[in-house]
Structure formats: C-alpha cells, structure tokens
Amino acid sequence: MDKGEAHSQRPVSLEITVEDEAGVSGPTEEASSQFEAANQILTNDGLLAQEDSIDLGGTDFVTPQEDSSATPTESLLDRLNDQMMESVMISDSPNNSEEDDVAPIDSYLDGGEQENATPENKEEDSEIGQNSTEIKVSVDQLEEECSEQETKEEQGAVQQVTAPVSPQVDTPGPSPNTSEDPEPLSGTGTGPKDEPVPVCTIFSQSTLPKSLAPDGFQPTLIKSPSFTMGSAGGSDEAVTPNKLNRPLVCQPSPSLSKFFADNGQGNPASDFFDSFTLQSSFISVSNPNADLSPGGGPPPIPLTNERHLSSTSSSISTPGALLDSAAPSTSPVFFLTSAEPNTNSQPLPPQTASAPVPAPVPVSATQPQPFNQLQAVFSGSDDPFATALSLSEVDRRHDAWLPCEETRKVLISVATQQYSPAYVESNKLTMPGLKFDNLQGDAVKDLMLSFLGEQAAMRRQVLTANSVEQSFIGLKQLISTKNWRAAVDLTGRLLTAHGQGYGKAGQATSHTTDSLQLWFVRLSLLVKLNLFHNAELEFEPFGNLDQPDLYYEYYPSVYPGRRGSMVPFSMRLLHAELPQYLAKPREALDRLHKLKTVCLAILENLEKSLAEDGSMITIAEENRQASLKLWRSRLSRVMYSTANCLLLMKIGDVKTAERYFEDVEKAYQMEGSNVSHATCVLMNRAFVYLSQNNYAEAHATFLEVLKVDPKNPVANNNAAVCLLYLGRLKESLGQLEGLVQQDPALYLHESVLFNLTTMYELESSRSTQKKQALLEAVACREGDSFNTQCLKLV
C-alpha cells in the first residue's frame, strides 16, 4: 500500500489520520492485514493509531521512508513542521483583532452580519442590528490559571445530567406470569407454594375463597350457568346436538390440508404440521402455551392417568413435550380454574349461547380436579362443548382487540353470514410470505474458518435447523440455545409448510393461531438479530395488523364463536417498535401511541364492567380483575417501549422518558419501589462520578458495589472501563480477561468482549491472536446468534 494510494483512497472528510514518519509497523504481512483493519478502525472504530497512514492535507509529503529510524535530522524536523503548518492552516485564518490574549479564532459568523445589514438600515433608531458573534473559548480571566485547576473548579458546579435509570421496578417484565417460580400456576400470594406437584397447587388454589383473587390470569371461572348445571348433573356422556357440528369444528385450516395433500411427503415439517393440526382439532382455538408457565415444574401428566380419563393429550409423547412444546392440547389447561364452584349466574357470553345443552363437564364444583385432567376430560368427551369452553375467559382476555371501523364491519357481516369470507376484497386480506429463503449461516464459524482454519471450524458444533425436531419443540430448543439464525431458518420451513413460504406473499392464504405465532417468532428473532430490514419486509404484508382475516371472527367455521385478534399482542408491539430501529422513531411513536390508545380503551371498558371490547357481557369480578391486570401490564409494556423509543431518539427526551417510567411504576403499582438497594444507590453514585469525569471515584464506587455483590457483571465491567480511563490499561485488561475466563457464561457478552478487544488493540499490535482466542471461547459456548462484530476481527 503505497502512500499515494492510501491518500487517494481516503475521503477528505476523514476525521483522523495517522502520519508515520519513521516506520513503526510490525512484520509486513501483519501490517498488510492490519491495514485493512486499520482502515476500518479509522473510519469506524475510532482507534487512532492502528496503522500508519498518511494524510497531511494533501501536500506532497514525500519523506517518510527516508527518515525512518534512528536520527531525525534537524532539517527533517523543520521540513516537517513546515509541512504541518501549511497543511494545518486550512481556511480559518486567525483573527487577531480581538483585544484579549487568547489565540483568536476566525469569526465564522461574518456572513450573518451581512445578511442582516438591510433590516438594520431600515430601523436604525430602534435597532442597532443583528450582530454575529464570535465564539471564543472562555479563557479570558482563567487563562493564567492552571488549566487543570480550572477544570476542577468548573466541575464542582457540574450537575449530574445522565443518571442511569435505576432498576427500581421489582418485577422483571410486564408480564406477571414470567416468574421463575417452579410451580407453574401458582398465583402470587395464593395457594401453598410448598406443594411439590403443580397440579395440586393449582387445585388447592382453586379451592381458596374467592376473596383471595389470584393475581395471575389463570384462575378463571366458568361463567356459563348451563355449565354449572352441567357439572351438577355430572354427566360425562351427555350428548349434545352440537356434537354434529364437531367435524366442522375440528377441521384443520384449509391451507394446511392443501399443503399436505400437495407435497406432504418429503417435507419433514409436514409431519409436524400433521400432528400439530390434528391435535389442535378440538383446540385449535387456543394458543400454544396458553397459560402455561413455561419451563415450569414437573408435568402434570402423571395425574392424568389417575382418573383414567380418555385423553388426546396422549398424543404428546413426553411429559416434557407437554410443557415445552406448543402442542395445543395443553391449552385447555387454562380451564383449570373452572374447577371453582361457579356461583355466579351471569348470562352466557354470546359465543357460548349457541350451546344450549348443559355441559357434560366433570368440572364438578367442589371436586378438586387437576386441570390437565379437565383437559383430558374435555378432549376425551368428544363434546362440542369443549369448543365452547375454549372460548373461555382467558382467550377472550388475551385476544381482545379493537379493530378499526372498516374491519369491524367486515367481521360483523361475516358473523351474520351476510357474505362469506371468500368475497372479501383481496386488498383487505393479509397475504404474507417469506421474503428471503437463504440460510442464515453461522458467522462465528465463518470467522473461525478464516482465522483458525478449517479444522478448528469443524469443531464448532451448534444446533441447526436440520438437527432439531421440525416442530415447535425444535424451535424452542434453538431459541433457548441462542441459535436464533437456525431458528429463523426453521420458522421459514414451518411457514413454508403452511403455504406462506418464499414468494407466497400476495397469494391468498388463511391464518391460524399457529401460523401467526410462527410469524411472530420469526419476526422477533429477525429483530433480535438486528436484521431490521428483513423484518420490515416480511412485516409489510401484514399492514397494520388490522385486516379482517387476522381476527377469529373471520373463520367462524374453524374457530366457532371465538372472538378477538389472532395476532398476539407481542407481535403488535414488535410491529410498533420496528420503525425505531430503522431510523423512523416518529412512526414507531405513532404506532406505540395507537397501541396505548387501544390498551386504554380496553381498560376503560373493563373499568365500566364491560367486556374488553366494550360489549355488554357481565364478567365475574375475578375475571375482570385478571383482565385489568393483564391489560395494565400490556399498557406498561407499551410505555416501556415508548420510553425506549424516546431514548433512541437520542437522549433528547430523557425527562419525558423518565416521566413514562414513573407512569410504568404507577401502572405496576409496585410496593416499595422507592426502596433502593445498596447496589443500586452505589451504582447511581458511580455514574454521577462518571459524569463528572471523576474516574477514580467512580472506580472506587464500582469496587464498593463489588463488595456487596462480587458477581455483579456490570460493576466488574464498569470498574475495568474506569481503570482504562485512569491510564491503567494492563490492570483493566487483566481484570476483564480474568472475568471472561472465570465465568464465561456471564462475561462472554457482546459489551464485555467489545471492551476487551478494544483494549487488546490498544495494548499491542498483536491483538489479532488474542482476539482469535476469544473467538475460540465464543465458539464453544455461543449459538449462531452471536454478534461477531464485537470481536472486531473482520
């Protein structure tokens, strides 16, 4: 790379360039490979010194090679200085007219003065005119003082600007159900938690007095009086006229059947879909995972057999699968709460009104029933009422949404059978399809190939879309092992199986709960992988997620009586958040505000004792509370997103963001949210020091945090960063390296690795080897979703 070339390649606007007068670089090979790196570093990574490059303002500066090494001649120095002075002078000629002794700066505002000359003349009397003002640095009086002192003094007055938002909210997420409590369904504060078997827990919970309304949304009363009657009758075998309808009800979605008919054989996904849809026959209404506390305790299956009730849940092969898989048959679980004796006599919800016959249900009022048993009963009973059941509170609660007026009309007309869905104009339909079908690959492996050789790369073993079961189970496996790229591939396959594959966008299709869940997973993974443009492309056919065919009412035959949105709330949120990552924060804000509006409207409906969608359904108090809680948590999630969005618009609005966080706290109504932990206080103090440039104190404070909480990764990392700012590179490096080696699970994190590689680069010209060592560490532990950019190897 000769000098001229280097110069010509460089954009003039380059902020920083390096001039090397006397060769410093290592072996040439390395240097050459580094040069590429250096280019990037100079432009992207901001390290000044990675490579010697030459840019002294375009003047012909021919001397460097000759001057290399040992003794710089005086003439060289002179010449150099001349060069530099010339190149440095640039355009801003010093303006020496200032009366003070500061090195003057040219007045760059002269233009303004002339511009404003005309108005001045007109109004000479009242206005002396608009002057442009020269800015100069404030050194007048302070000039004599030592500059360090000055800085110190000024800092004394400095107010802290950016206080980190302290994690005072105690609950991790907006969803109250994400607790790590091994007992899946225990509500907070209710039910004996020491029960080893979750089912029992649930049950005992359900026998609690109603006054102890559980705060989760699981406990749901069956409100249909007929239901209660049925349970009183206790007839399992009750045959209802509706039974005739059942085949219709159980029909898998047309597109699926079509798919299987067409090319079912070879596709591994078809098996999956087959079982999946069959299972979902009576249940297709429900969401996988609904009301399961995933990863929860022991599967309730064993209890199922206790009652010897016929159960389609047997189609789920393993107990683990029951919990982990999306197998829909688990979903009736949420009826468990119906075990509660139903004392209320609300009118039937409209959707259940069509089932005139008392339910055959064994949900006997007082009899404890593990909910999976109930489920088994329902599924086994072959009773259409099972379907009616699945229109339960939980579904309605979660799926509630307020469609726009136009969509509402379409849905009403479908419901009243004015016309069949087939005649709905196609531009009102949602016709998604994959927009890309290339495999995502594994960046870590690619890097290993190029740096560590093929053998090393072969050693890397990660799960791929091929190596797992072609089902929701496999998908979850990929996600939890952080192989998100493979997971994206798998969602692609599954969606292809559903007829929404590559190139299928714009073709008529139908939606099921599962297909939309797949889309949701796929899109959220794309976002997690920073593939925002891909996500945007694939989101596009969904429009504003308000098309009629995204509502259950649109499929009266598949989801009889079920109402609400098929699109999960989280997907709406994702859709709303997406534009902010694409530099369209205002659009994101708009969408978030729309979400917020709907949430507020639903909350208002609930406050008025209406159903979520405003219809005049009486809801039991417990259900109403549960609904309120759910929608409040959703609202607060939206608030969080809004705050994030404002943050992304670059601090700009931190105060507003803070206000939003206060709102969130209120929405949560957390108790003791004001009680800060010692760690939290210390952290905040450290950040205050940081903002005052007091790295020594900040470092000390982070160390104090570590005394309280030695494993705190944030404090560890931040202490190391402070050390660097104190000029203690080696110590800092040692600390970070130690952390990564001791506890890779915690410290093989993007941010830590980024810091570490930056320090490597700063420390030595042989950073590449050290980075490769990191790559190997990463390769053993991380999935294919690892962001390799932080290693700065390329």
Partner: protein, 411 residues
Amino acid sequence: MDVNQAKQEHLLALKVMRLTKPTLFTNLPVTCEDRDLPGDLFAQLMREDPSTIKGAETLMLGEMLTLPQNFGNIFLGETFSSYISVHNDSNQVVKDILVKADLQTSSQRLNLSASNSAVAELKPECCIDDVIHHEVKEIGTHILVCAVSYTSQFGEKLYFRKFFKFQVLKPLDVKTKFYNAETDEVFLEAQIQNITTSPMFMEKVSLEPSMMYNVTELNSVACGDQGESTFGKMSYLQPMDTRQYLYCLKPKPEYAEKAGVIKGVTVIGKLDIVWKTNLGERGRLQTSQLQRMAPGYGDIRLSLEVIPDTVNLEEPFGIVCKITNCSERTMDLVMEMCNTRSIHWCGISGRQLGKLSPAASLSLPLTVFSSEQGLQSISGLRLTDTFLKRTYEYDDIAQVCVVCPFMSNEC
C-alpha cells in the same frame, strides 16, 4: 506496503485512542407473553443477559459501560482526552524511553505529556501508559504529535513519531440582536443553535454584562416561588434546533446619568454557555465581548418623556420632550413647530430655548392636537442651533392613537 517494507521495524509500538466518554450498552428488548409460542424463553434470555437492568429488562438502556466505538466529533470548548500507550512488542528490554505528546494547532504547539522524564527501562510485553487531556480552544485542524525515543538493547538510539490529525468543529451558532428602548435600556436577543449532530443539555446560558450594565434575564416565567424556564422543563437542544434567549440590560446609574455621552460602540458583555452531551461530557464556550453601536443621536437628542397613548380627536394633549445636547459644544437653540396634515401644534413657533451646554438637557412641555383619526405620527419639530446656523429636524418622534370621543351615530 512499500512504505512499510522500507521502514525499520521498531521494538516499541505506539497506540493512541481517543477517550470520549464511555457509552451505555443498549440491547434490543423483544418480548412475548406466556401464551405466545416462545413462552418464557425471550424473557429468560433477557434476564440472563448481564447487560439488562434487573427488574427492568424491557428497558433498552443498560448500565454496562462500553468503550468509545469511534473517534466521534470533537467540538470547540470540549476536552480532548486521549490514551497513549507505548508497548514493548519485542522480546528485549528497551531503555531510556521518552514519550512526548504535543498538540499542534493552527496557532501554537502545546505539550500535553504528563511527565517529560524518560522511563529507565521497559520489559517485553510491558507498556507505558499516559492519558492526556486538553481543553480545545481553537477550531480547525489539530495534530497530535507523539514522539517516542528509546535505546535498544544494543545501545542503538531509535526514534519515531506518529501524527494524528483531527478537526475541531464548531458546536454552536450564536446570533445576537440588540434592541434599544427609549429608556436607555438595551434588550439583547441571542439565538443559540446546536449545530452538532447530537442533542445537548444546555446547562447554563448566561450573560455576563460589562461594567456599565446590570442585566436581567428574561428567560423564565414567574410562576409561584420558582420561575419556570421559558423552554419548559426540558433543557435539551436537539440538533439544529435554536433557542432564543432574551436579556435586558440597564445602564448602571453612574453611567446612566451620562447617558447622553454613551456614544458609538459600547461593550455590552458576553454570553457564557455550558453544555453537556453524552454521559456528562462537558463543553463550555464564551462569546467574545458583544458590542453594541449606541444609537446615533447626532448633536441633539430629542426624546419623549411623557406622551399619552390614546387621545381624542381635535382635543389638545400635552407631551413632554427632553432635549439633550450630545455634542461637544454649547448650543443656542430655537424651536419651530410645523403643522402636518393631521398634527397641529399649539403655542408659539420659533421660540428661544436658550443655551444648552454639552451633555445638558432640558424638558419641554408642548401641546398638540390631531385633526384625523387613527394612528398618527407626531412630526414637525425643528431645532436650530443659532451658533452654527444648523437645523435639526425631528419627524416621526412618536405615535398616538387618535379616537373619536363621540358615539358613531353622532359623528
């Protein structure tokens, strides 16, 4: 490449990194509800992620600090900090290492090294670290010159330097405008525009008046005990946004008495601006002394001391004029009053006002009425200095609103 080959390999490597404030790591919160397909997985992954805030995982901003990712921009008034590391890449002990860091600006060369003494020896894989700071006081190109000299194992004296060039940009655009009130007060309107690419927190914008003036800030609205800033609660200035600050300057009494003498260019004061950006990165600028061209009053200044704002049609009203001799000599004045189309003076035109010494003034009550409705301009005063036979014309001294005192039907 050619260059590199021609170079001799050095035992030491010099690395320089600008230390801007560290940034907080941000993550991408993607959540789902328990009913959704991934179930708890997303939430669990986020909880396990060390960079999220426990209890607020859905918040994008974490507490994890990351080192600067790029050089960024540096603006006038900010502090340039840089890490300088000299690392011994070789396997031999190097002696007498001297690292010098100079900053070459367009006008001067500053030594930034903390110490100028040589380090006796540097073992392999060890390094010499230095963190330099410099408050940037000039815009334009700056060059950081790092020079390293050392002695090798074999007593060979070696030397190399590196240059790092960066541009210092202007962060703010400041425009000022003066308004002169009749009462010798001066209003200063200052427009401050953020011309950087990131938002700024304006910590302080104040006007330091010169010794002749007292200043009142007019940037807050009195509301209860505490004045609220006219900019609302938020002190952030987005990129390219402009704020207008208003100040009222009153000459101090000792100077006010000689108001007539305030002539030509006067120094009003200077603006002091302190701002903060990322993680409290601080910048401070002062403008140069703001100068005001005092309104040119000529030899004689005629100002109004009393004038009604609204008068009745065809009804005489009084005004009081103040006549100040702004010249260096004594004047002997004669005043004439010329009627205009609407303004009619009452009293004798051409009367002697007597002698007026320099800087002296006299008050003169006059009576006038208007024959037309509407906003009428008072004009037609003529002052003649009999010494120099020079006439000064005063038109459009003030305006009065002339209304009809009767009901409309009576008119």
